[in-house]
Symmetry: D2
Subunit: 418 residues, 4 copies
């Protein structure tokens, strides 16, 4: 069967191809020469499937879209505390190139504005190799292929980097920056000159959506808490002075770059990208923005989308003294809360079967809550069985040393659901 | 079985009871006289279960927590366009009592600051009855019980309402406000004086989390798009100049009030509330804030929490020419995308069974994508069956007039999963 | 002889009469109905001579030009310390209607912006009578005739006073304001509605230029220090965000009003006024501003004008052992410093005559320095005579109990120079 | 006779010597090592007499006090239009090191803040020689002796010049700056490192007070309009966020430097300086500020000081048909206006004698007005004589080809008044 999702993306690209508003960024020749009508988009799910349309393999310099990923690298390399000491997390409500330092600390307000991105760049890296090497390696791991720097763009951009040099010297003045200003700003310019395609970007972003696991290689590239931090900062500060309208109307935490790229993320779901060099008055890709608006409207992709009805992940089947609690999908707080609610309705003790055969995963909280429910039923006199053919709940110790009396577990059996 | 969730909440309350930092708001006697050590919290799930601990029935004036709900009322009564014409959605990055009007339009930046809340209040209501009556009725419907105004608090607060009167006159000056300034500010003061308990607030907030359906009564009080708008604005502007740190660290869109209340929402999951009158330097309830930090850390409640592993909602079972696609839970974009991915891997045509017997619901997008997959397989020569005992996918027209050849549907049979 | 100064003013008025740029203020009907082409100007010297041209007797509401005079009244009625506690003296660099409160104190930045003018108004007055009565009386004394309020303008303006009411309530909120907000803003509106002509304004302003002495009546209406304070504040804050360009280019501390009036002051020299209702984009009278530019350019009227060559006010005539020190004009620091310089060049003691017959006045400092010089010469062995036919230096005690040996003083003789 | 003015200055220095508040600037070792208790002051009159006390010959780096003089140099070298195109004249109301660029033009707001001073520096100079050489030469001419640069201070300061480099790059980014950022900031640092004494500074400042004529050498170093511009900008912007309080309380346009120097100017009167390295919280020399407060209070030195009584510079003596108009001092607008007022009171034609024998100078305006009065009297039938023994009114053409009938002019006779 031909997958209809690329067809849908094709249709979106086709529908928007006639949008010719806006102009290509013109402050350096290398960007001004971009073909204005190139247009591509891609979606990568947290399961690692990428759907693309248009010029989704066309390479362009990543520019400001590098900011969230460099922020992730800094968090990995230096830890949350050290990074937050140097760069804040508050929205600035200002354009990307404002200084926006915090009153007393002189920290840049967040890593999405240039000041914060330059400070973030300075924090990247470990003893061996340069900051730029570190970022190139990290971005390549996120994209799942080896990326390169466009040296022409980098050289030309550095010649026009007076604003960033100004920011660098100001940060140095406030001792926010360690190291040589010229080197750091040059490194930051290299970071912005890494060449990516729309497909690369959707893959990189899907890694954030998946909590740090590269969805194709399965490699964990950062801790879930790091991905969470990056996405939360993108949600608040990614769209600069446009954050509120974007978050309400589109609802996809996003970041755009001056070369025409744009990414968006929905946690646990997808990474999205678009590429079209003509920019609107906010400096975002005009057609890129329209792609996101279409995806939000057509596909219900919205951080606060709640129109999918009640997610009912627990079913109870009573048969005389036997009660079976069927669990489905991912058992997180809400599912486990529902399970506990139903368990606490149980009256005369009998035999309780917890059926985890349809469960994909327990979150840490979901596991603890489920085991606590089993412990309490057990204390109330119930006999507890666990049906867990795929081992979703290994070592089901109630926490008091007790275990379910019967555990159906067939580790040797292939998982039919894979 | 005794439900462990209240026990957990009790433990949180107990652990934080010795936190005595901060002071009760003192600008009017009625607030200054509040018992400083009262402390309660509540969680209501979108399924309508409320868990509470401490002084969760204690009544207090709702104050600024009224803002998101009044915003919902204005959206209902006047429509999105009219409201957005008068009040913006951008974070102000400033304290609650700053004027924060937008440059050219003079719109208040968002409905969470006082200027925006006063303008929002002016938009509430329909022909019959006062704005205050309308809000009292709406808030009561949200809480699921009849609420009242604390006239003493209201009277005293209006005596000290010089800042709000200043804001009102300034908005009137810019013709942002229709009507009499005195009346509107008085009405807004009444809105802030509505008496609620922590339990009321968690229920009201859970209605937002559930996309507008009061979880206990099942009554739809607003459209999903309205609830979405309110939650998105809370995420960006609810914590004023503290928004970024709150969104990254706690990750629960929230709103606090000067009397010590605090609410938080996770879409599709829960409404949360806390109440403790001592305020920190940001004007938020000190212990209230700690409750939210605990819930986020302990329970993994975070808008960008992604540590629950991959949510695998599609399973494929192949048996000769027969392939069964098992679906689980809510079939939204991601699940449907996974289904389509698997369908597109199918080779020689045979018999495809779509098993929706474990499905809770299809979102609109999920339904359309699933039917499109069935249509395409059918076009490729497959025979399509649908197993849908609970009618989750009624009228399964492929979009081209074709239907699955066999539909297992037993509408008369009781739903074992309910 | 026909005085050429009015001819010059006539010529200026004629030359600028064809300037029709700008619009009459339109926010209330009473101002919108002003005849747009009315045009007048007047100059009053500190000696009390008024030169006028055009419609210089036409009455109009004083509006913001009342601010410096009301500030003078508050300084008189409450004293410098009390007033400065409530209203600052720093330029705001913002438009007249900005709130511009100081960070910590919440004082309005200066008395020329509305916030400062409203706070200033609240400080005016003594026990008997209203603030408005006090100001009407004071402004009348300054103008040298009885002034009245335009009740129509006042009534209409108060109906549109939402911005000022906003400011008033905000000041009340910060306890900057004592008393009822409504009453104070109404009183301030009355203050702005006092009817004046260009001639009235030049006379009122000349009183400031003369250090507080009404130049026609000779009555001292305020202390020199008060007039100094008012002029200094006008210099810094009178032209709002236009202060720097005005001070450099025109160099005449000034204040304008929305009805088209404008005043300017040069200390010790003149008060100037112009009236023409069409306003430029800064809200200043367009032709009024041009009048000031002409006067500055043509007449060398500039606070920092220094093109008049060296002012030589001391002449020394030596005749054998006799040395006569001729003094001229006003003997202030510079003249006295010159005298002391010349005295200190004196060698062998002889007879020194200090000739004050051409002196108009000694400043306090000039007097002390002159007497000190005489004392020192005397100590060096000189015989000291004072020629002072008009008693400019009464009681010429050297400070050590000694006096000039000969004093030519003919109090009975008429002063030829009067 | 011993001149008492130095004694007075000595007394001021002695009285303030025990003021030990504040700290020496510590951001570079060369300034941190300054002897904290050094203390000097000097006054130079426009006649070229310098009075000094304390350590008034001690050399220190001029720092920000160079700003007004470099501004003068730029005005001389490039003209008013070109300079004003690059640097504004509006007060910034902010600290010296704020960026304070104007909204649309990105011009620095004024030449007294660092951004404006750096832009100003870039405008200095002509084809031959460096900017630094030009300034060294110009400052030397102002001081009347050859000045030098402290290379140690300069080198150390440039190492810490990150803020100024930031400003330079930002100005370059906005194309406010021509040339290499590094070179300009280095040149500006050299400008700030020129060594001066308090005596040098009072002489340099007196040149401004004298309208551009170096009072000792008599050399005209700039046009009066240039000196006027510099003084007017100092008045508005010289004291940064302290401008209003300084202008009202002290009333002497001033500029201070981080090394502890301070200058002040009163047009047509004096240049003043003080030096004491301990700085107050505004970054001004603590004792320097107190010196200025003393001078203002004791000596009546205040731009808006008006307590010297009426300056009566015209006397009329009538003897039958003969009327003599005695003029004194400098005949500027006010004196000439008085003369015209008295002439216009003349009735039956007779013989009018204009006695200019006591006149120091006519300003351009004064000359034209005086001749116009003579012309009009003449037209009315009067016979006009001019008594002008020292040629203060050369070529007294009435403007219509007529001359006074009798001119007493004795060019050969020595001027008794010199």
């Amino acid at each position: 069967m031909k997958n209809p999702i690329p067809d849908y993306l094709d249709e979106v690209i086709t529908a928007l191809r006639d949008e010719h508003s806006g102009d290509v960024a013109g402050y350096i020749p290398q960007l001004a020469q971009a073909e204005p009508n190139v247009f591509g988009a891609a979606i990568t799910t947290v399961k690692g499937h990428t759907y693309a349309a248009g010029d989704s393999d066309r390479l362009f310099s990543i520019q400001s879209i590098s900011k969230p990923f460099a922020y992730a690298a800094a968090l990995i390399d230096r830890g949350m505390d050290r990074v937050c000491q140097t760069v804040g997390v508050e929205p600035s409500g200002e354009a990307f190139n404002e200084l926006s330092l915090e009153g007393e600390t002189h920290r840049p307000k967040n890593p999405m504005i240039n000041a914060g991105a330059i400070a973030t760049h300075s924090l990247v890296g470990t003893s061996g190799g340069t900051r730029t090497e570190r970022l190139l390696e990290f971005f390549s791991a996120l994209a799942g292929r080896e990326l390169n720097i466009d040296q022409d763009v980098c050289g030309s951009e550095f010649e026009h980097a007076h604003r960033n040099l100004a920011i660098g010297h100001m940060l140095k003045n406030y001792t926010v920056l360690d190291g040589d200003v010229h080197d750091i700003v040059l490194g930051y310019t290299q970071q912005c000159s890494i060449l990516v395609s729309a497909k690369d970007l959707s893959m990189m972003t899907a890694t954030l959506a998946a909590g740090g696991v590269q969805p194709l290689t399965g490699e964990r590239l950062m801790e879930p808490g790091t991905a969470r931090q990056v996405m939360a900062v993108m949600a608040g500060a990614g769209m600069y002075d446009f954050a509120g309208e974007w978050l309400t109307k589109v609802g996809i935490p996003a970041k755009s770059g001056v070369s025409g790229g744009m990414i968006g993320v929905l946690p646990n779901q997808v990474g999205i990208s678009a590429f079209s060099p003509r920019l609107d008055s906010h400096g975002n890709s005009h057609r890129g923005r329209l792609v996101f608006e279409r995806l939000s409207a057509d596909m219900g992709m919205h951080l606060f989308g709640v129109d999918q009805g009640n997610d009912q992940s627990v079913a109870v089947e009573a048969d005389g003294q036997d009660v079976t609690y069927h669990l489905y999908g991912t058992v997180q707080f809400l599912t486990a809360a529902d399970l506990l609610h139903r368990m606490s309705a149980a009256e005369a003790p009998g035999h309780a079967v917890i059926d985890a055969s349809r469960v994909d995963a327990f979150t840490d909280v979901g596991r603890r809550m489920t085991l606590e429910g089993m412990r309490r039923l057990n204390l109330d006199g119930w006999e507890i069985s666990l049906r867990d053919p795929f081992g979703r709940l290994p070592d089901p110790d109630f926490g008091d040393g007790n275990y379910p009396s019967v555990i159906e577990h067939r580790p040797g059996q292939p998982d039919a659901r894979g």
